[in-house]
């Protein structure tokens, strides 16, 4: 018997990363800005996305959404009320979306071609840990945090907040009764991801949505220039 070491030196999620790179090329070729929304369950991703889809559509933008959940198509039905094409991805126990799931759901999506879209939103499975490891080829990863969750959430889940491109605080309309310490939340987000853009929003009142929509438009324009 001989013993030896074989150097492999490769990413554990190499397959996902390679597929994500191909997806990124497809999004770019289609001229679509893709955003991956990640948060805990109950942060209000769906309500925030409903409002975003509705407001973007009202402004004439072409939008669509993929929504991930372990089970049920409740969120897809909620989001479809905006009039945007929406497709549900059920992961059946898997705690995150991966590039392969996105790839399979982009194929054969009746009436939706990437080239016909300005924005594609991917609502990830409610989870602050696992989605951070899986690249979906998105241009922008958005970490969401609600005022009911505790200001130290970014410190507890640094991997996700550190890998995010933008942060959204949701449910600002109930910040006061919740005793939300805004300054502390902003400080904690900045400690984990220095310089990140932070949006303070309420899907209910529409607060902060103008700034968020302006950011989306900026990012889409920057994508076109690149």
């Amino acid at each position: 018997m001989t013993t030896r070491i074989v150097e492999l030196r490769r990413g554990i999620l190499k397959k996902n990363d390679e597929l994500a790179a191909l997806l990124r090329q497809r999004y770019a070729a289609g001229g679509v800005l893709v955003l991956n929304l990640v948060s805990s369950p109950g942060t209000g991703k769906t309500a925030f996305l409903e409002r975003t889809l509705r407001d973007l559509k009202a402004g004439g933008a072409r939008v669509a959404a993929l929504v991930g959940d372990l089970e049920t198509d409740n969120d897809a039905r909620r989001l479809a009320a905006s009039g945007a094409p929406v497709r549900q991805i059920n992961t059946h126990g898997i705690c995150h979306l991966d590039a392969d799931m996105i790839d399979r759901h982009l194929t054969g999506w009746d009436g939706v071609e990437l080239g016909d879209l300005d924005y594609l939103f991917i609502e990830n499975v409610g989870n602050l840990v696992c989605p951070s490891s899986y690249d979906l080829g998105e241009a922008i990863r958005v970490a969401l945090l609600s005022v009911t969750e505790g200001e130290d959430k970014p410190l507890k889940y640094p991997t996700l907040f550190n890998s995010a491109d933008a942060a959204v605080i949701t449910k600002m309309d109930i910040a006061e009764p919740c005793g939300f310490d805004r300054e502390l939340a902003l400080k904690n987000i900045n400690e984990i991801r220095p310089g990140i853009r932070i949006f303070e929003t309420s899907a209910k009142t529409g607060a902060g949505m103008d700034e968020w929509l302006a950011y989306l438009a900026e990012q889409q324009a920057a994508r076109e220039r690149s």
Partner: protein, 136 residues
């Protein structure tokens, strides 16, 4: 892609799906070493990868069962976060993942040089020698 076996609760789901990817990837590499038995699989995992080493080890046995990796040992080498500090013009190591400021000068930075790794570094294999195969 890994599904949780019956009785494996969700806190381990993340690690189980990661080790399942490791098993799959190493198994593919073993095609080049048909007489090999895997003794050890060595990973390099950054502090920002948010995986729990104990859970990886716990899941390893489950993921490796019934594969060529059954009975092998998983060794996880954890890597601290290293960021580049522009004012200091140096790569500096961080103590944890609670603050992304230079420990020398306090300047925040997002120019990370290490800490997000999730890599298969190497495997240790045992191969039956040519002679023993001839005898058999």
């Amino acid at each position: 892609m890994a599904r949780a076996p019956q009785g494996v609760k969700s806190p381990f789901m993340h690690e189980l799906s990661i080790v399942s990817s490791v098993v799959e990837s190493v198994t593919e590499s073993l095609a080049a070493y048909p007489r090999a038995r895997v003794v050890e699989v060595r990973l390099r995992v950054g502090a920002l990868a948010s995986v729990v080493v104990d859970s990886l080890e716990f899941c390893w046995g489950i993921a490796a069962e019934g594969t060529a990796l059954e009975g092998s040992k998983l060794v996880v080498n954890m890597l601290p976060v290293v960021m580049h500090c522009a004012p200091c013009d140096a790569d500096v190591e961080l103590d944890g993942v609670q603050s992304f400021r230079c420990p020398r000068c306090g300047e925040p930075s997002m120019d990370l040089r290490q800490g997000r790794e999730m890599d298969i570094d190497s495997i240790e294999i045992e191969e039956a020698s040519e002679n023993s195969e001839v005898k058999a």
